[in-house]
């Protein structure tokens, strides 16, 4: 195929090329796809999962794995909504509750994997299951409704005409990009994920680094849960289903290794956008829903294939 050939030449940027190709194809197929309105739409829609994927990426880079963010989204959303009824608490309270819930989950994940030496798959599968139960328990299986205007505006307002979700996502990205590339802590995350023994011998406190990473990921998931509950105007115990896989997929599509030590947030952003654009685009060009899944799966595989080819040649 000629397209593959072209991409092979443009080494290292495989995933960007794949992404651009995808956008070009969709623009041709639907006149509505490449419009300002739709682009804002896509960015708005990708924001929450994007924020969560930032957390999943740092966990993966540190050599871990986090299956719990979807459940954290639900628990944090329900908990925050409880404090988000009109005229009750200042808005900082639900925000704090959501983030604190996420931090608590992250701490459990971090402590059990690092000090407890339990494989992250088991730990986070466990906390995911527990989290889903807790979310139902926290609201007795009913959605938490009747949220204050202020609460709803958390994810639904605009600043200078830009939806606030997009701004929050950009902020989260900027902060974590800075941490990963410009701070010592960020360097340590890569080192621990690359070789735990060598990092330990080099004097790094591997356990605290891991715990901190899981806590950050938890906090981001908690924050995501808050935003999702605001966006959907309800604290739902079944929110965020499957988010963990989407977040990991965004990271891995973006070149983050599942074995640790390798990854970039810019890649994750592209990965998340890719997933979102596929589902937005397929909706737009009206692909029947069964076919959507088939096409979606194929595009993801193809995109990463192009990426791999370009890197190996590069």
């Amino acid at each position: 195929m000629n397209i593959v050939r072209l991409c092979e030449r443009t080494s290292k940027f495989g995933i960007y090329i794949a992404f651009i190709l995808l956008c070009v194809v969709l623009s041709i197929l639907s006149p509505y796809f490449f419009t300002v309105k739709n682009i804002v739409n896509i960015l708005n829609q990708v924001s929450i999962i994007g924020i969560i994927a930032v957390g999943s990426t740092i966990v993966l880079i540190s050599g871990g794995l986090d299956l719990s963010p979807g459940a954290i989204v639900a628990v944090a959303g329900v908990m925050a909504a409880h404090f988000g009824h009109p005229g009750q608490y200042p808005i900082i309270v639900p925000i704090t509750v959501a983030v604190a819930t996420g931090l608590a989950f992250g701490a459990v994940n971090g402590v059990l994997t690092s000090l407890g030496k339990i494989p992250p798959f088991i730990v986070t599968l466990g906390t995911m299951t527990i989290g889903r139960g807790l979310a139902l328990l926290a609201c007795d299986g009913m959605q938490v409704i009747d949220l204050s205007e202020r609460y709803i505006s958390l994810a639904n307002s605009e600043i200078f005409g830009i939806p606030i979700l997009i701004i929050l996502f950009a902020l989260v990205f900027a902060v974590f990009q800075f941490v990963l590339t410009k701070m010592r802590f960020g360097r340590h995350i890569y080192a621990v994920g690359g070789n735990e023994t060598a990092s330990h011998v080099s004097g790094l406190n591997v356990n605290s680094i891991k715990i901190a990473v899981y806590m950050l990921a938890g906090a981001l998931a908690g924050f995501g849960g808050l935003l999702l509950s605001s966006r959907t105007v309800v604290g739902s115990p079944i929110a965020g289903q499957g988010y963990e896989l989407d977040a990991i997929a965004a990271a891995v599509i973006g070149g983050t290794s599942t074995t640790g030590g390798v990854g970039k947030l810019t890649g994750t952003i592209i990965g998340a956008l890719m997933i979102q654009v596929i589902s937005n685009g397929l909706d737009m060009i009206n692909v029947p829903s069964y076919w959507q899944q088939i096409v979606k799966g194929s595009i993801i595989i193809l995109a990463v294939f192009i990426d791999m080819r370009s890197r190996n040649k590069g």
Binding site: Y32, N38, L136, M142, T232, V233, A239, N280, M284, S289
Partner: protein
């Protein structure tokens, strides 16, 4: 010019891997074809936020009417706000949203109604007292909440008691294992209420394998074809028919009326009907 003449309708459905929804959308597609309506049906994958996003996408595409089959009473409400703000008429299908008043109309039935009809059928068959095992959909889903609510309404003031309840997530194999476990644990009940036929069929199988089909009666909801066959054979006692195809067809008719600027009543009601051996032939 001919582009403009075509009515463009967008629909977001709660989940396309559900047999019931599939029947609805089949009918919608068929009717749209007949009327020359350009219809795009989107799969909400059982996620409220996904449906909100899809409505946003439909707005971006300037469709004439949006049909929403919401997965969540509250979670999908923002989608309605968005459509209203953008001036695109939106109405709900099969299930409702909290801010229903902002929708043009509702096509479908009343969710708790199915649970209520199921409960009434059970009382009609078994009298006002009995021990009930309840197999529910995924806890927290609107259909689970609504159907249970309707059932409890019907049971109110009777001696029907729910002795044991659990979720089987709409899944047949989970209901099957669950029922095996209950029977194994010596749970005693006379009636099994499953919130859909798929789970009812799973439970029924466990009961039959245990040789208890004479003493335990099973009820479901949906009137799927194998459930109807089971009623025919006298294995399943009853189910609740929701006119999926009728709902789908009606949805398109209503959409066309809205697009043409005609007025539509607030609710286009398509009733539930109890199904048992006596009236099986009608379905």
């Amino acid at each position: 010019q001919s582009e403009d003449a075509t009515i463009r309708v967008g629909a977001t459905m709660q989940g396309m891997n559900d047999t019931y929804i599939r029947i609805v959308t089949n009918a919608m597609e068929e009717r749209a074809e007949e009327l020359g309506v350009k219809l795009s049906i989107l799969d909400g994958e059982a996620k409220a936020e996904k449906q909100v996003a899809q409505v946003e996408n439909l707005i971006a595409q300037d469709v004439d009417v949006i049909i929403m089959n919401p997965i969540s009473l509250d979670g999908c409400a923002p989608a309605v706000e968005k459509a209203v703000k953008a001036g695109v008429p939106i109405f709900t299908l099969v299930s409702v949203v909290k801010n229903q008043d902002k929708c043009v109309t509702y096509v479908g039935s009343d969710a708790p109604e199915s649970g209520k009809i199921q409960g009434e059928m059970i009382i009609a068959d078994n009298g006002t007292s009995g021990r009930v095992a309840l197999i529910q959909g995924p806890i927290g889903h609107d259909a689970q909440i609504g159907r249970k609510q309707g059932l409890m309404e019907a049971f109110a003031g009777t001696n029907m008691k729910i002795v044991v309840e659990q979720t089987a997530n709409w899944q047949r194999d989970q209901a099957l294992s669950l029922m095996e476990n209950w029977l194994q644990a010596g749970q005693e009940f006379d009636i099994v209420v499953a919130q859909n036929d798929n789970m009812a069929m799973g439970a029924l199988k466990a009961i039959e394998s245990a040789g208890l089909s004479d003493s335990i009666k099973v009820y479901g909801i949906d009137a799927t074809s194998d459930a109807k066959a089971a009623i025919e054979a006298g294995r399943l006692m009853g189910t609740v028919f929701q006119d999926a195809a009728g709902q789908g067809k009606m949805a398109i008719d209503v959409a066309v009326r809205i697009a043409n600027g005609e007025s539509v009543e607030d609710v286009v009601f398509i009733p539930y009907l109890p199904v048992n051996k006596s009236n099986l032939a009608d379905f």
